[in-house]
Every structure is written in C-alpha cells, then in structure tokens.
C-alpha cells in the first residue's frame, strides 16, 4: 500500500452506495409512514415498503459494538444500517419477518429498541472526562445513569409528546444543549487558576485578554514577565480563556458540578424554536451515579408526563401554565440565580400584570 499514490481532498463516498435497493427505488417518492410499535417504523413508497428498527447506542462505542451492529445488519437488513442525528442505530429492513428476530437478538445483547414519537430518544452528548480537558463533569456516565432511570420512556411511547434530552460537560456545549426539552449542563463555579510560570510561554497575551466576553482579563507583569490577571468579580467561569490559553485551567473538583435546564425546542411544529431556561442552578458532581441529577431529571419528566396535554413539548407546557406554576408543581426552588444578569437580561423581566395567582 505504501507505493500507492497519496490521495487527498477526495471527500466522503457517494451515499448512493449505502442505500437499500428499496430506498433507492422510492427515493423522494415516499407516500407516508406509520409507527408499527415502539421503535419500529414502516415507510410506504410507490413501489415498496422499508421497515426501520431503531436501537439505542451509547455513542461512545467500540469496534466490538459496531461489529455487533453490522453483523445484525448483515443477518437481518441486507447489510444496510444508518445512524440518526441523535446517534441511534437504525436497521433498514426489506423483509418484515426479520423485525422480531432482530429485536430479540438486540435485546439478548442488551440493546433496547425505541426512541420514536412520544418517547425519549437517545441523549445527545459530549466527551466529558473521557476525552476533554474542559469538562466540568462526565457526559457518558451522566447519560447512562439518567437513561437507566428513564428507560421505560425510551421503550414505550407514553409521554404527551417527544422529549429530547441533552448533556454537555461545559459551556462550550459541543452537544448544543441550548435547545432541548431537558438539558444537563456541566459548569465550573470558580475563576481559572493562572499558572504564571507557564503562561508567558504558552499563551499569546492579546488573544487571551480578548477571549473574555466580560473583559475580566488584564495584562500584568510578574517578576518581569508579562502574564495576565483576572478580575474575579467579573468572571462568570465560562472557560473561554482556557480555550485559547492552556495555562488558565478551570477544573475545580470541589466546585464543578451540574445544572438543569428545561423547555427548549428545535422543531417549528406549532410554536417557534425555543432556548432552554434554567431550572436548577447547581447539583453536585456525585459520580459514579449522580443520584441528585437522576432524581431531578426524573421528577421533571414525571411532572411533565402527568400535567402536559397531548402534543405539548415541555416548553409549550410551561408557557401554558406559566413559570410560577412550573416551580410549584416540580417543587424546584426558585433562587436569585434564575434572574438573568448577562446581555439582554431585561428581555426576561416581567413588564406586565399578566400572572396567574
């Protein structure tokens, strides 16, 4: 292989190669779909039907797991499979009779099927302690413990509407949790600890100063070397400085932890997309199973399940009942941290007499 020409900029292969023949024939000609049961769809096209079986995946997966999936695809779905934008695995079956044996074999291997319609789909998440220097918590572990708790809502469709969960382990939000029904967000609560011995060599001072959205960083001189100082009253622990300057680490085992956000939504269905809003400002990092976090998330899911009307997403439900009632029903404490004090904070202040008493 060493003698072959070095190929560059070839881009990904054409997707055509990976489409099931039934999909190719009906490409752009689908008439409708139906949900046969939790995790199983049929799409009816002009010349045939394709059956989809949607399976969970932890996203952080080994080649062993992937080979298990490809083995099942070869056996049951003519060798065709795909991944969804929320990292579920989907098997695309031409033969309806293969649905049951496929589900059985998945289940024998501990892989549940579900995540469709009025259920909780796979959790979009990030790298965490497994692979990132910025992390205020772990992501894969949180997903595991939360989904253990909410398992029934993945394998059954018993919620008022779909519920999208996301986890990000710092404010960089590689999992883009800012528009999910319920989001778990790791955060730091203390300013960066500056390593003045390495900073002058590792970091460019103007870039580091400019990185701070709150102008909290100023150049300074220590023992004749230019470094930076942080105005701690202005710091909101966002970690922007650390992204550009490795000598300003954020990790603080005593104070790092998790916050919970609710009511975001992406789809335009009925109402416009919405950002998530703060529900719980801080819960401690309590690995390996984060009991405070799983309990808090389960509580919100259950209160939503009990009180929302059909086709109401979490955010739509809260908008109908109002935030005071949300805090009432969930028993979550309202604190001064719920009041915004960053840019555009004023847009969240009540400027009317419209309130439920």
């Amino acid at each position: 292989m060493a003698t072959t020409e070095r190929r560059t900029d070839i881009g990904p292969p054409h997707y055509d190669k990976f489409l099931h023949p039934i999909i190719k024939e009906n490409y752009g000609k689908w008439k409708y779909h139906d949900t046969l049961r939790a995790g199983v769809l049929v799409h009816v096209g002009e010349t045939g039907s394709i059956y989809t079986v949607r399976a969970a995946s932890p996203r952080l997966i080994s080649t062993n797991f992937i080979r298990l999936m490809t083995g099942l695809a070869t056996k049951y779905s003519d060798g065709y499979l795909r991944f969804t934008s929320r990292n579920n695995v989907e098997f695309l079956l031409g033969n309806k009779d293969n649905i049951d044996p496929l589900i059985k074999e998945l289940s024998d291997n501990g892989v549940p099927v579900g995540g469709l319609n009025n259920s909780i789909s796979n959790v979009v998440h990030t790298q965490g302690w497994v692979h990132c220097h910025s992390a205020a918590t772990d992501a894969s572990g949180l997903v595991k413990v939360v989904m253990d708790e909410l398992y029934e809502y993945f394998v059954e469709m018993k919620l008022p509407h779909k519920l999208r969960l996301a986890v990000a382990c710092c404010l960089n939000m590689c999992g883009a949790v800012h528009a999910s029904d319920i989001a778990i967000l790791g955060l730091h609560r203390t300013p960066p600890r500056i390593d003045h011995s390495t900073l002058p060599n590792l970091c460019e001072i103007p870039t580091t100063v400019a990185s701070c959205p709150n102008n909290a960083i100023r150049p300074t001189s220590i023992e004749g070397k230019t470094t930076v100082k942080v105005d701690e009253d202005k710091c909101m622990y966002c970690g922007n400085c650390f992204t550009v300057c490795p000598a300003m680490p954020m990790a603080d085992p005593l104070n790092d932890g998790v916050s919970i956000w609710v009511g975001g939504k992406i789809s335009n269905a009925r109402t416009e997309p919405m950002f998530t809003k703060l529900a719980i400002p801080f819960l401690p990092n309590n690995p390996p199973r984060w009991p405070e976090v799983t309990e808090a998330v389960k509580n919100i899911v259950e209160v939503y399940a009990k009180n929302a009307k059909p086709y109401e997403r979490v955010g739509e439900w809260i908008n109908r009942i109002g935030w005071p009632k949300f805090f009432d029903l969930t028993g979550i404490e309202f604190t001064k941290y719920h009041l915004d004090d960053f840019r555009y904070a004023g847009t969240t202040y009540r400027r009317s007499m419209h309130n439920r008493y």
């Binding site: 560059t8 070839i10 997707y15 997966i61 695809a73 692979h131 490795p246 992406i266």
Partner: protein, 397 residues
C-alpha cells in the same frame, strides 16, 4: 506496565438496563490504550476532575484540520493514553452505511487506533478516538484507499451534515443528501485548510421539523420549505375521522394560526395563513404532505453560548430554489458572498451569528446583496433612533 485494572466506581455503570459504555469498553481492556483510558477515567470519577492536557498540534500532511491532538496530563500513570488523538472522518450524507463499508473502517481502526469511536460527533463526523502521532499517516492512507476522507476542525468549513431527507422521509422539500454531498465536495479546500475567522457549520434539514437542529447548531441552516398549498388526500382524512381520531383537538386547535377547518369529513386549509409549521402534516402523515412548489429557506448564525451568548439562526433568504439540474449554483453563489463579506469584515473567533449582531442585519444584508424583507424580522424596530442615509440638501430642492 500498570497492574491489574481495578475500576470499582466505573463498575457501578455496568448496572441498569441502558446499554453500558463501560461494559463495552471493558470488552477491549486487553488493549493498553483502552485499559489506561479506563484507569484514567476511574481516577477522574474518584477525584471529580478530568486529566487531559490542553494538547498540542498534530495533523496530516497537507491538511490543516481533521485530527485533534490529545495527551494525558498524567502519562506516567497511564502511558497507554499519553497520546490519544482524535481523527474525524467525514460521514456519508444521511449517515447511511453498509455493514461491509463500516467493517472496513473498523479494521483500519482496530489496527491503528484504540478501537473506540463516537458514532457520531455532533457536527456529523465519525469520530475515531485515540491514536498516536505515528499512526496518523497510515490511517489516512488506508482510509483514502477505501474512498474515505477527513472531516473539518479549527476555523474552517466544518463537515456539513443533513437529515435523512428524500431517502426515507415524505416531508423532504429538497434533496438534503445531494446538496450535502455537493457542498462537501465543492468546498474541500475550505473544509481541510482552516482559513476562516472561526468555524462555519452547515446543516441541511428537509423541512421545518429540522431534525438536524440546524437552527440552533449551525452557522448556516438550509431548511426545506414549500410555497403553495399543503396537499390533502381527502379520502385519508375520512379514514382518520372514521377511526375516531380527534382532528379537532389534536390538529385544528393546535394550528398556530387556526387556518384549518373540518367540514364533515373534508379538511380545508386557508394556506394564505399557514406558517409552514408542519404540525398538521406530522400528525396526519397519511393525509397531508407539503405543497409542490418546493425549495429551502436559509437562516444564518445559530450557535451555542460561547462567546457572546447562544443564538438561533436568523432568517436571511425566505425561499431559494434548490436546483440540482443547475448544479446548486444559487446556493454556492450565496454561500460565497457570505464568506467573502465575513472574511473581510469579521473578527478572529467571531462566528457569523455574532458578526451579524455586531454589524447589524441591515449592514449584513447590504454586504451580501440580499434585499431587506419583512420575513426576516418579527417586527419592525420600535425605537426611533434611525440612522438616515438619504436626506435633502437645500440646493437639491
């Protein structure tokens, strides 16, 4: 070599019904890299902090991105992860694979890497987690020999991604897979060699359900839309009515503009009032589908909070034809005008969303040559501080 792997905390994550990534990782713990990854993670769980260095620059010759350097902060304790670099591999449109193709990639990764992956990263790539610097070139050669290439990283065009679109969704208003393939291939240089102010993500969703979360997670959201009337199959409506489905409560009352009525078993929509929210189509998939005059809307500037705060994308072009016959020229043309203006006037680490906020929509539209339209805003300004650019001078009377 370190002693026997003991992970009492991580073992707790083998319990419970959800698939356990720890069980999966342990199935590979005979590999030094995976073993030490588990060891270091156990230590993180004990100490409640991560142990990764804010690494260094590594890459593939000729490429400015696609590989991300990663080093353990405590390599003495965990030599297996002293190097643990990430390789981003550009996924095919729609994340479709065959078993054979995936197995080939896994063969390469088993030979040259840790065997761990993220399928997939939030931007869309296959993320191969954990290899060393000297394995990078062999991995690259073997991947390209099988027709795969690297994805983006750094201040470049990030790997575009799309929803399943016409491959399996009756809502798709344009061919998301074809456009993604086209843009990815046309802009290989922008994808592989970071030259922008900051990252630029493009996501394509076939309808306003936005299954790729383009409005929140991409700098450029290309979202399928239609202009004419929703197509109605009245016999299917009659079947829904006969089946006892409550169209009044679940469809009509949920329509944001209340533009739907049911007369007997006949559904009527005042399409002049329809917001294209897709709710009714979602709920009655057998009876309703998007109109025939289809294309896309383009919104710019969605992003997570870093640096200045989170933004949803702003609608810039309410309707554009997605013309495959024409090689998608109109989309390329718009994209290039946007890049040019952002390149000239944007600042370092300024995403397009923050750029638009800073220079204002008015200046931005002028800069990229798009007309101002009432569709781009929720309301006209309510403050009177208007910067007039034209006014009369005495002598022009």
């Amino acid at each position: 070599m370190s002693d026997e792997l003991k992970t009492p905390l991580l073992d707790e994550l083998e319990k419970g019904p959800w698939p356990s990534f720890i069980k999966d990782l342990k199935s590979m713990a005979d590999r030094p890299m995976v073993k030490d990854l588990l060891g270091q993670l156990e230590k993180s769980y004990r100490d409640k902090r991560g142990y990764w260095k804010h690494g260094g620059l590594v890459g593939i010759m000729g490429y400015g991105g696609g590989v991300i350097g990663r080093y353990s902060a405590i390599p003495e304790d965990f030599p297996g992860v002293s190097h643990f670099h990430t390789v981003r591999v550009n996924q095919p449109s729609g994340w479709f694979y065959t078993s054979e193709a995936l197995n080939e990639i896994m063969d390469i990764w088993d030979e040259h890497g840790s065997g761990l992956t993220n399928m997939h990263g939030s931007t869309g790539d296959m993320v191969l987690l954990g290899t060393t610097t000297q394995e990078l070139e062999p991995i690259f050669r073997e991947l390209t020999a099988k027709d795969w290439d690297l994805g983006g990283s750094g201040s470049d065009l990030r790997t575009p991604s799309c929803c399943i679109g016409p491959a399996r969704c009756q809502n798709a208003c344009y061919d998301t897979l074809a456009l993604t393939y086209n843009i990815t291939h046309k802009y290989q240089d922008e994808l592989h060699r970071p030259m922008f102010n900051y990252k630029y993500k493009i996501k394509m969703s076939g309808c306003p359900n936005d299954c790729t979360a383009a409005m929140a997670r991409s700098d450029m959201a290309i979202i399928g839309i239609w202009k004419d009337d929703i197509q109605i199959d009245q016999s299917a409506i009659a079947e829904y009515v006969d089946s006892g489905f409550n169209i009044q409560e679940y469809v009509i009352e949920k329509c944001p503009t209340k533009c739907i009525t049911l007369e007997g078993k006949e559904l009527k929509i005042d399409n002049s009032d329809c917001l294209k929210c897709v709710h009714c189509i979602n709920v009655l998939p057998k009876a309703l589908s998007p109109g025939k005059e289809r294309g896309a809307a383009i919104a710019l500037g969605g992003k997570a909070p870093i640096v200045e705060g989170a933004l949803f994308a702003t609608l810039i072009v309410p309707f554009i034809e997605i013309d495959e016959e024409n090689g998608f020229e109109e989309v390329h043309d718009l994209l290039e005008r946007i890049w040019e203006f952002w390149d000239e006037h944007g600042m370092n680490r300024e995403r397009i969303g923050e750029f638009i906020e800073r220079v204002t929509l008015k200046t931005f539209l002028e800069g990229i040559g798009v007309e101002p339209m009432p569709q781009q805003i929720t309301q006209p300004r309510d403050n009177p501080y208007i910067f007039y650019e034209e006014y009369y001078e005495e002598e022009t009377e």
